[in-house]
Symmetry: D2
Subunit: 375 residues, 4 copies
């Protein structure tokens, strides 16, 4: 048979496709192709796998490797020419879609004091997590937010937004997270540059946080009908304090230690319809059990040091390092310090998994819940 084989996915299991090529069938397959069709049994086992096998691979991006390259971009390109001065994280398994993991994009952006990028809006949802520097700010639909290290800020789908660093600031670096690959995959990406290149600040500075970040209090006249959180900035100090406070009254999760999700204060749901985010505290000496679940996760070390084991691969991390956990990969986390806590910021596509009914989770049963680490 000189024709292309169509039976490479056969499985000898009841209920699975197991059809061997024959000359007659190969002719039949050739005929089907003329009508833009095919025989399901030739691909069924391929497109209906027993369980997910992520295209993404576990990667650790060390800040000590990236920082100098990020800073060097300042000399190489202007914000005007580059649009954004960003070094993006390019997962070896996802280079075709420029993703850091799954359908999530991420990059490290740098701006110098006095710089201000142009405003735009897009269908992609975005978030930033501040890594270093003083004076950074973001403007979202006229709301200006001042930002410091470990602050977390949203620029949701469809909002006008722009970033800058004040004249009296220092060079600032932050991590961007976007669902660009997902939105492209969904064939739903739109992009608009602000007609005046920059927008006016139309509300008191940091009004979003002053209005919506109160603990279980809501403005009586607060009106909001968007699908994303009205709270755009989540500050580090109250976040860390909340973790410490919660840690005193809970045993925590066997898989994640002390884990809290950033939420939309109006409904307790995720901050945006496509991306969720969390901050997690590993207590001194804590080493969690391994589990795996659907969804793609990107972590930044906000505090401390330790390691994670992801599908048997050990990644040692330090403050500001970034690493990813692909879908259905076993993972466990450990705090390397016996005296200090460690904190991991994370963003992920859990809202997508939940909205589409695709979340599934499994604890590692073997070996006391700890993975064997690959050499």
């Amino acid at each position: 048979m000189s024709k292309i084989a169509h039976d490479q996915y056969r499985e000898g299991v009841a209920g699975r496709a197991d059809v061997a090529d024959t000359p007659e069938l190969l002719s039949y397959y050739e005929e089907l192709e003329k009508f833009e069709t095919g025989a399901l049994w030739t691909v069924a086992n391929k497109i209906e796998p027993w369980q997910p096998k992520s295209a993404s691979v576990p990667v650790l991006w060390r800040y000590r490797d990236l920082r100098e390259h990020v800073l060097r971009s300042v000399a190489l390109v202007t914000p005007e020419k580059a649009g954004r001065r960003v070094i993006y994280l390019n997962n070896p398994g996802r280079r075709d879609v420029s993703a850091a993991v799954g359908w999530l994009y991420s990059g490290l952006q740098v701006m110098h004091p006095g710089e201000l990028a142009s405003a735009h809006a897009h269908s992609a949802s975005a978030l930033r997590f501040i890594m270093e520097g003083r004076g950074a700010y973001t403007i979202v639909d006229g709301h200006k937010m001042t930002l410091g290290a470990n602050d977390f800020v949203l620029t949701p789908n469809g909002t006008w937004h722009e970033h800058g660093v004040s004249d009296d600031g220092t060079p600032c670096i932050w991590q961007d997270g976007l669902d660009i690959p997902l939105v492209n995959a969904m064939e739903a990406g739109f992009y608009v540059v602000h007609p005046e290149l920059n927008q006016a600040v139309t509300h008191p500075v940091d009004d979003s946080t002053a209005t919506w970040a109160a603990p279980a209090l809501r403005p009586h006249d607060g009106k909001w009908n968007k699908a994303y959180s009205p709270l755009f900035k989540y500050e580090w100090a109250p976040t860390y304090e909340s973790l410490l406070r919660y840690a005193k009254v809970t045993d925590g999760s066997p898989f994640d230690g002390i884990l809290m999700n950033y939420v939309n204060p109006l409904n307790g749901g995720p901050v945006m319809p496509t991306m969720g985010a969390s901050m997690q505290l590993l207590r001194p000496g804590e080493h969690t059990q391994a589990h795996r679940h659907t969804g793609s996760f990107l972590y930044q070390v906000a505090k401390g040091s330790g390691f994670s084991v992801i599908n048997g691969k050990r990644l040692d991390w330090y403050e500001r390092d970034i690493f990813c956990v692909p879908s259905w990969a076993f993972h466990e986390h450990a705090n390397a310090s016996a005296t200090e806590d460690a904190c991991l910021f994370c963003f992920n596509d859990m809202p997508v998994m939940n909205a589409l009914g695709l979340y599934r989770e499994e604890a590692l049963a073997d070996n006391g819940g700890r993975q064997a680490v690959l050499a």
Copy 2:
């Protein structure tokens, strides 16, 4: 005609009932009564009024009047005999249902150090607002909460709950708020005494607040499927701080100044299905515009002094005073100080009004939005 008149509600307006009694009609009415019926037109104008006229009257309960009587109850009755040592607020228009306003009950309770009331559960929902003393606590379904002045605590419908004051505390007074009259009116009141008279504390002290009061953060593993808030205690310090913070970025409401609702952190909704609560700050010198709306409201002065005008009646209030605003009564509030802010705690039946689709609101159009004060 010797029979009872049936035409006392006639109105000479098109679309309204306007039937004069005749001997024939009176005989007819008499006949109808035999079958447990009546003629609608004899009562239509009564039962379908043009607008609400509350049975409740505006009342100011001065703490300086009540405090000594509340304290005196300690010598007069034991918690064992009294069940609860409470002086309740008895609106002159609602004595038949022992309500402070509308269908809301309220009272002032006192306990001495070392005292502990028995635990019970009931269909009524309850809340407490602490007025004075150290060492008060409440236990709700095994969660113990320590309480200080201006703390706000929930004991929702169906929960086991009990109150006490620790041995090293001081005499404590707080305001209770319940929907007992509403639940009775709905013919849905059940009451159970705890089989062991007191319940065990099964969670870390103040775990509810440590778990659920974080600003826009939610425990990843936090499970909750009740109709009421999982957060049972709302502390004064972060509440007051939130008001101050919000005041800096808002013009506030023309009718209420800086007004924030206590909410269920999971959904931004009211704390319980039948009662809502809020804390409100009147800025120095602020005197709000008058408006009226459906729903019954009971206020306690948490801080400062001032006055409110309710349906033309001026009530001058000081810290710890309590006053009510009946349904559809015009009301405006004023802070008497030009330098200090004033804070009003309030609980109300807004969740009922909203759930039943009965909320309606109207600003006072005349006189620049200020009522004429009755002599």
Copy 3:
């Protein structure tokens, strides 16, 4: 002691109030009254009963008794003078609020061919269930609905509505159901007569049913943001057919046989925020088990005959009879025919019970789930 006794509600049970009057206490109580207050323990056991005791009593309104009186009203009053020609059902325990049961009003209305009542709107929600006659119609916010026997139609809170009978019709009688007593109790009743006394029909006749009554199909462009159902008319033929169809695949409820709720097709919820409605089929010879629950229920016999036992009182009913089940009253239903089914229309305040978290239910454990019938 010449003073009024305050200890008539004492109970010798731990956790309940049990304070005997003394001269000192009576003086104290007198003092409290001066400040519009009272001692909780004097009323606690009264206002916190162990379980509900409805003020309403079970009543059967026989259509053979009422029909002639309803028809006689035509000669006695004009629609112009009476507003509505209605004989209302006056529960002996609820005469103060003109209710048929609990907080629900109901009456029988009659109109002759060519008559048309004036349009109005009110905060009360209303429904109609057609008993006899041809040519009846209702107009709700410009939507005209033609009505036949056993059709069920809504005129929700705030809608302009009016009723009439076409020139070529016959005298029509229907049952009205409203939450007037509830809305008055909530002090939220508003009433407006239509400025032109009658409204225009602005949509195709019966468009509501053609648009929203499709089985599990919804207009793609159907917009709706009201708290009540967009479907205003529920026709008898498909309702009865649905019951028969469902009866073939279910065992039914031990307490209610084949019971289906009329719902808002957009959310599967109740037709209006304050009143729910259902149609129920008792199979030939069916005699249900007794249970009791909170909420007030008013039934009309849409088809067949049988009896119900309500708190031990047997009520024998025939087509068009109406009877009520008060809150927390045990009730069971029986179809008197061994060959024909029987159908009961019902409307109730279940949406209120559910929204306020006050629903509770209990099966009768004794006597095989059947009540002893009182002599």
Copy 4:
């Protein structure tokens, strides 16, 4: 420069990336790759397009072309070996993921009388639309549904399901629709064969429809807590009748004529979290206006004949033909008959677009809303 060009996506527009390659930059890019990173400005314009450009192309699959090939598969493979005897629709732009359009899979399946496929469950959601034959049935979690032409049936995510044709039936062909490509893209696909290869029928036949397809009536005891509709079968007769009934009271949509969505009767929402479905009627002679929107759509002609113009390409269709509309493609539909109506069944990923906040729509402004048809 011998290195690979990195500046192929430059745009000379303010706010877009416009960086020309230089030797220094090319070295820098090379360096970045070592750390699994890249410079955003080299790909920004590619991954942030101005608007979506679907990878799918408009395709018409003619039933007269496919039918014989589908039938021929019966002789070529057994259900046991093939798992399913299905010819799938393979969009030329989506061959890598075996999709008919976007992330949606579809195929035509044939079964002979007496055949029964094995039961399985998977993370993918599935639906079937019956094209021809008598005796087809589907079993979902123990609920057996009998199926005729134009009936629509669900086999949601995670349910055990299997298809068969009764012994006294005729050869049956239906269209399958699944979100397999989407679930694979989300890396969330699981597949399980039923441990006993076939499941028992545990409920009365067609109980799902008898229970949940009533018009605006819901079983009082109906319990359901799944994310998908409890109604699994939507029958053709009442669907067509509903369209005819609705057509009498609406002008219809300028873009779609008379369009109704199949919904979850409990919440009016889509039938499954990832796929929606609709039936649409084009009135005699109707030719709609063109519009475009995000989301991928696959149509089957359930009745009549006509044509659609999709991004300028005219596709003439007859009963049982299938065609697709890719995301953001302009499309308009025309009924070729001046006397008969035409009906289009459609399934799509609108629930995904809506859940993720990615739906956007635009009418064609030019040429009276009609596209120029390409030669």
